[in-house]
Subunit: 165 residues, 2 copies
Amino acid sequence: MQNTVPARRVEERMKHFQARASELGLAATHQRRIIYRVIAKSAEHPSPELIYERVKREIPTISLATVYKNIKTFAAMGLVGEVGALPGSIRVDANLDRHHHLVCVNCKAVVDFCDSRLDRVRAARANPENFRILRYQVEALGLCPACQVAPARNKVRTQRRKHNG
Amino acid sequence: MQNTVPARRVEERMKHFQARASELGLAATHQRRIIYRVIAKSAEHPSPELIYERVKREIPTISLATVYKNIKTFAAMGLVGEVGALPGSIRVDANLDRHHHLVCVNCKAVVDFCDSRLDRVRAARANPENFRILRYQVEALGLCPACQVAPARNKVRTQRRKHNG
DNA sequence: TGACAAACGATAATATTTATCGTTTAATAG
DNA sequence: CTATTAAACGATAAATATTATCGTTTGTCA
Ligand SMILES: [Mn+2]
Ligand SMILES: [Mn+2]
Ligand SMILES: [Zn+2]
Ligand SMILES: [Zn+2]
């Protein structure tokens, strides 16, 4: 249930990452490659904390600060997206294609939702506040299959644990 | 520029709040009335911190914990909404009518966006993940008028300040 | 008006994110 | 290939955001 992205797609993303990083003058350090790969391999929109946990398996000396710094750097450069639909920690997205999200209001699972009709969403009238609208983002809020049968308990944990014994 | 709701509307909301609170067996304390009124008077989707600042003007001894506890209580009972479009602190919404939001990606301003076409947003196909979709939520991300001319600096502050001299 | 559950205020604890700073390392010029 | 150096890293403190705990106060209802 790790919601893994196909290896072929992961390699495509790694190639794109290396190419764009090079163009942007972003040093391709070992840490950055591992951090990005962890993000690219996951379809679950992982939190910084979860990314940190997984990167630590490959680089036990990695610092949480390094993970945060690089998530922010990647996001600022458009190499990853930040999903901010729920309160709590941010969720990171390697999928740069136009898409929307299914969000479980119970366990906070976030799943990609590709749908042509959602892509075409636009307001009927110009907004009276005169915002310059850059893009529309749709969230379909509801319950994931697991939470439909057992809506009581919350499955996703984003929190750090002091003692992980 | 306080983005104030008309007094008539505020009084309607207060009436509704009192009625629903009574129905729900929620004690109508002085603190709760003031906290709710602060939320009801604002159209800017204030953060808990901002609500706390304003409530303090009327109840200088109010605790930040009381403000948080009551925001959560109100939200759990459906008396207010929580807007979670941006990272950082949550934003509280007294407007319970069906509506969407304009969000400034620069200063994080959140403005109500009522639009019939957005209300009718639905996916073209059933979602392959079999979520039970409860509602669709649309955010129009862009730049508010102020940030279109001066996109550099961030105007909204949600943060506490240690020294407020 | 008194009893009691609920709510409050103070504050500690936890969770999330960013800043600081000394050390290490990737990039590149020679 | 090595020296230089700006960038990145790791450790950790600090800032910010939210929740929990607990003793005191207050609203509710008999
Ligand atoms: Mn996604
Ligand atoms: Mn609103
Ligand atoms: Zn769920
Ligand atoms: Zn703005």
